[in-house]
């Protein structure tokens, strides 16, 4: 039998990254501040996790300006969507298997 833990994605080990993906999969585009508020995180903490996800090409960052303020928004990539979904499937399988 295939080891079920093998199909769990290492990147989604962190609860915060899992949270970010959960938000992005149901919303077209979410701003940094909205993410911060939803997940109740500090700037630095959220930024480092977003960085990891961006490097994995699971999310994409878009920088824009509202007046003089920067408005950074994030969207999920097709790869991110696919990885997140297979991670959820793996989680589900594990729970059912035990």
């Amino acid at each position: 039998m295939k080891n079920p833990i093998g199909s769990l994605n290492k990147i989604f080990d962190s609860r915060i990254r899992l949270g970010v993906m959960s938000v992005l999969i149901v919303n077209d585009s979410v701003s940094f501040n909205d993410l911060k508020q939803l997940l109740e995180l500090t700037d630095g903490n959220l930024a480092s996790h977003l960085n990891t996800l961006e490097q994995a090409a699971y999310i994409k960052m878009h920088k824009a300006f509202i007046g003089r303020k920067t408005n950074t928004t994030y969207t999920i990539t097709p790869l991110g969507k696919q990885s997140f979904q297979s991670h959820l499937d793996a989680l589900e399988k594990m729970i059912k298997g035990i």
Partner: protein, 208 residues
């Protein structure tokens, strides 16, 4: 990781998905409040119509006011009171849940609610301007467009609101074929259905 942890993780994910894409601070109490307001409004409108038919409005002691103005006054008052009540109870609920009242979810909800609603409002105005004898269609049209608005907005809040929308549309269609009982259908749709829906929501999501 054990099973309990996995389940908690899945629960977290579902929670975040819901919280970030749906406006869940809509209070059932605001539905009940709007329903009661609508019923009171319907009662006063009924009284005004009775007075009008008895010949008291437009003549006699109340010569200054027309029946149209009188009904419009009642309608606007009901709308304002119901909206204020709705905002108040929703504000209270969002405080309790520690969620912002105005964010992308409430904006989505309002925009998607407004599109069919404004369309319906303009339709009714056009109807009145072009066909002054089509007054009987006002109540059915408002019910139907309101139902469509609720169904359209249901993606952005508790999906139960879709059911309320379907009921409003059914009522509106029945009313469309029974012209002349508009006020009763209107009272049932905006009064009774709101109270019913509000109570169901209150007991389902708020009373624990």
């Amino acid at each position: 990781m054990n099973q309990q942890e996995q389940l908690e993780t899945l629960n977290d994910i579902r929670n975040i998905m819901n919280r970030s894409s749906k406006f869940i601070s809509l209070s059932g109490l605001s539905g009940i409040f709007a329903g009661i307001t609508a019923l009171l409004g319907a009662y006063f409108a009924h009284q005004a119509l009775k007075d009008y038919l008895a010949g008291n409005i437009g003549y006699g002691y109340d010569a200054q006011s027309d029946i149209e103005i009188e009904l419009l006054k009642i309608g606007v008052l009901v709308l304002v009171v119901a909206l204020l009540g709705g905002i108040f109870f929703t504000y209270r609920q969002s405080r309790k849940k520690n969620l912002p009242l105005w964010d992308s979810t409430s904006r989505n909800l309002i925009v998607n609610l407004a599109i069919p609603l404004v369309t319906g409002g303009l339709f009714v105005i056009a109807l009145l301007l072009n066909h002054s004898n089509a007054v009987g269609l006002i109540a059915p049209s408002t019910l139907i467009f309101y139902g469509l608005a609720l169904i359209n907005a249901s993606k952005f809040t508790y999906s139960d609101i879709k059911f309320l929308g379907v009921c409003e549309i059914i009522l509106g269609i029945i009313a469309m074929f029974n012209i002349g009982y508009g006020l009763y259908f209107w009272a049932a749709g905006f009064g009774v259905l709101h109270i019913l829906y509000g109570s169901i929501m209150y007991f389902k999501y708020e009373k624990r």
